[in-house]
């Protein structure tokens, strides 16, 4: 599970390079996210998921675990959800919990 991170001021943008966050990769994803967010103090973490074509309930659980680990002082925002990933968030109503951007906020693209 390769994740690319770039810090810009108060924002840490993390981009996934793997196209599936599923039962086979969720634990590794969670561990890598913990390492990367632990190495930064940025209060706002944005996960760019535009490369992720598929996320299952294990992947969703891992994303939620990252949000909970950052709370209450830091936030996890999501960006670039592909249609199937969007559907999982919508059905589980997790789309009401996360701030979800269509694309990474201005000036923060091309991470890594």
């Amino acid at each position: 599970m390769e994740l690319l991170a770039k810090e810009r001021g108060a924002m840490l943008v993390i981009r996934t390079t793997q196209d599936r966050i599923d039962a086979a990769s969720a634990i590794q994803f969670k561990d890598r996210m913990r390492d990367i967010t632990g190495a930064s103090a940025a209060p706002r973490v944005v996960l760019d998921m535009s490369n992720v074509a598929f996320l299952d309930s294990s992947g969703l659980g891992a994303v939620v675990a990252v949000l909970k680990a950052l709370a209450p002082d830091r936030t996890l925002e999501l960006s670039g959800l592909t249609p199937t990933v969007q559907k999982v968030f919508r059905l589980t109503r997790m789309d009401t919990i996360f701030t979800i951007h269509d694309a990474v906020p201005d000036g923060l693209r091309n991470v890594g």
Partner: protein, 156 residues
């Protein structure tokens, strides 16, 4: 009719797609590979985006549940029979792992999300499955779990 009879042939099949039979080892890597194989097989070609995404979500949850629960204690294979009919994608899934507790499928109720600190990190699987399928049945026969369901094709 037992859900394990071959699916009835629809009166006017859209296309003559033969059913897809797959046997895979009960591991998360094999599940990932099987999903890619199903979508590359042509079985679902021409389906709505809605059916495609539902099929991927549901099959991933069903198969990973078998890996994590039925085969938690010992390894084994999973057998899949998928037929694309006028109704949608008819799915039959068999494994020889541990039976469902109480020989019943989990209810998969929606879990209230509450505050950030209380957010559930699991238990979404059966909720997702039940949200997206029809005619869900479970049987334990001759030491096998047999799950059957239909992913409806609303555009058919």
């Amino acid at each position: 009719m037992s859900p394990w009879q071959p699916a009835r042939t629809p009166a006017a099949p859209r296309k003559h797609r033969p059913p897809l039979r797959l046997t895979l080892p009960g591991t998360t890597d094999a599940v990932r590979h099987a999903l890619l194989e199903i979508f590359a097989s042509g079985l679902l070609d021409g389906s709505s985006d809605n059916l495609l995404s539902s099929a991927e979500i549901v099959l991933a949850e069903v198969l990973n549940n078998i890996v994590e629960h039925a085969y938690a204690a010992r390894a084994g294979d999973i057998r899949l029979l998928l037929s694309h009919t006028e109704t949608g994608l008819v799915c039959k899934v068999m494994d020889s792992g541990t039976a469902m507790p109480g020989l019943c499928l989990p209810k998969g109720d929606f879990q209230p999300l509450g505050q950030t600190a209380d957010l559930p990190e699991g238990g979404f699987g059966w909720f997702l499955i039940r949200s997206l399928v029809t005619e869900l049945t479970y049987q334990r026969i001759d030491g096998e779990n047999r799950l059957s369901f239909i992913l409806p094709d609303e555009q058919s």
